[in-house]
């Protein structure tokens, strides 16, 4: 969770963004022009207020902007990752009003007035959220790309169990309890292609144990 600024000013993200701008200057117009279709209808920006990680953010957005893109491109909160961009991998999972959702499949303008918590809002490098600390302790990540979504999802999931919300593997719909089987089912919307799953389950079990 190091900020762009702490790495001496030159970041991979900065280089990538600068590279795209440079290409435009050098006349590779069509590459960047894909953002605007040839016969684009006029776009009316929409004013939207989000509270992200406790901070009010007033934005004026192209309505096509997903919540994910608003976080990454407009607020520079790049902890939330864009994986499949179609709700299939869970890398973009954030908490909205406490509930986990795929930020890629919702428009930012649909969340006017909502409270959003991203991986950056759960903890800081100096004071990790218990779930972040448990993922570190149990090595719940390898490449790490799915990790922010896994952690946000895990935090949301424990609340869902606490609230008595059943799952597909709950035997008695009125008797919801924590188990590894429940964790596996409830985390199935988050895909990790390194297959760190056993360590992720262990990390979540650890946090649940601390809470219980």
């Amino acid at each position: 969770m190091q900020s762009d600024r702490e790495t001496g000013g030159v970041t991979r993200r900065g280089v990538l963004a600068g590279g795209a701008a440079g290409a435009a200057v050098m006349g590779a117009g069509p590459l960047v022009a894909q953002d605007t279709p040839a016969k684009a209808a006029p776009i009316t920006p929409v004013a939207t207020m989000l509270t992200v990680n406790g901070r009010k953010q007033r934005l004026t957005l192209d309505p096509r902007t997903t919540l994910l893109d608003a976080l990454r491109e407009h607020m520079q909160l790049t902890g939330t990752k864009k994986g499949c961009d179609h709700g299939q991998c869970g890398a973009c999972t954030v908490l909205v009003d406490g509930q986990r959702i795929n930020s890629c499949l919702t428009l930012a303008v649909m969340h006017d007035g909502d409270e959003v918590t991203t991986i950056e809002g759960l903890g800081t490098p100096d004071k990790l959220h218990p779930m972040q600390a448990a993922f570190v302790a149990h090595d719940g990540f390898q490449c790490g790309y799915c990790t922010p979504g896994q952690i946000c999802s895990a935090v949301g999931m424990l609340e869902e169990i606490k609230d008595g919300i059943p799952s597909h593997v709950t035997a008695d719909l009125d008797d919801v309890a924590f188990s590894d089987t429940e964790v596996r089912e409830r985390m199935s919307g988050n895909i990790c292609r390194c297959a760190a799953y056993p360590n992720i389950v262990a990390a979540i079990r650890d946090v649940q144990g601390q809470r219980a």
Binding site: P63, L105, T106, M157, I165, G189
Partner: protein, 317 residues
Amino acid sequence: MRAFSYTRATAPKQAAAGATGAGVKFIAGGTNLLDLMKLDIERPSTLIDINRLKLDRIERTDEGGVRIGALVRNTALAADSRIRSDYAVLSRALLSGASPQLRNKATTAGNLLQRSRCPYFYDTTKPCNKRVPGSGCAAIGGFSRNLAVMGVSDACIAQHPSDMAVAMRALDAVVETLGPDGTERSIPIADFHTLPGDTPHIETVLKPGELITAVTLPKPLGGRHLYRKVRDRASYAFALVSVALVETADGRRIAFGGIGAKPWRVEAAEALDTPRAIAAAAFAGANTTSQNAFKLPLAERTLAAALAEASAQERQA
């Protein structure tokens, strides 16, 4: 994603009245619509955001059933205490569908309107009569393992993807709507989805601008409620075959998912004695391909397992 204009509606009548023009779509959860917009399959010119319509409550009806607001999220519906106790088949169906993140956003009405997951509907380089009317069907003679075997036509063999709607079909749910002119309609779910025929792009009886406001369930049936779903992985996958079963002292209700162009129920088959007889009657006139013919014996066996489980529960009770 193509450009569109965006408005937020604050009342159902306002939303419906503003939705009459071509290319106007309501957006609620958006989990299916935005996916299709990114793929350039859905191309609305205007989105009316209906999330502020306050249609997010589950209430008792005068008839002793429940009225589920159109905007009730799948998670909230599955977890509602009345749904869990009186309509468990619906809770089970919802919990078997999608992922928790999607269920936290997806709505009751949106689930009824979700589009098929036929691979050729999604592949814009291939002909699809559902996506581009009159362009042809690449699924017929193509990769059809997941596709429908009942209610299909020469123009389309796409399957209906919903689990929720299968349970609602077994429960005789009714879809309540509000038209742009203020007209209210109550549509039995059996009549809500249409078969493809030669117009597979038309999937429901909704008229332009008509807004789903609620889904009502009749008074509880009692009995055993089961939803069994067979799929290629243990979670987060669409059904190859699913069975919604409600077994009561007075009789049983059976609806199948993954089988039909719409949620598939044949009332006349439900009173028959054996899974084989029920399946034979329910699937008379099946139209299979070499790749999806397995769904018929699989559905029969899934039904047999559900009936056996219901009997076992009854003996234990």
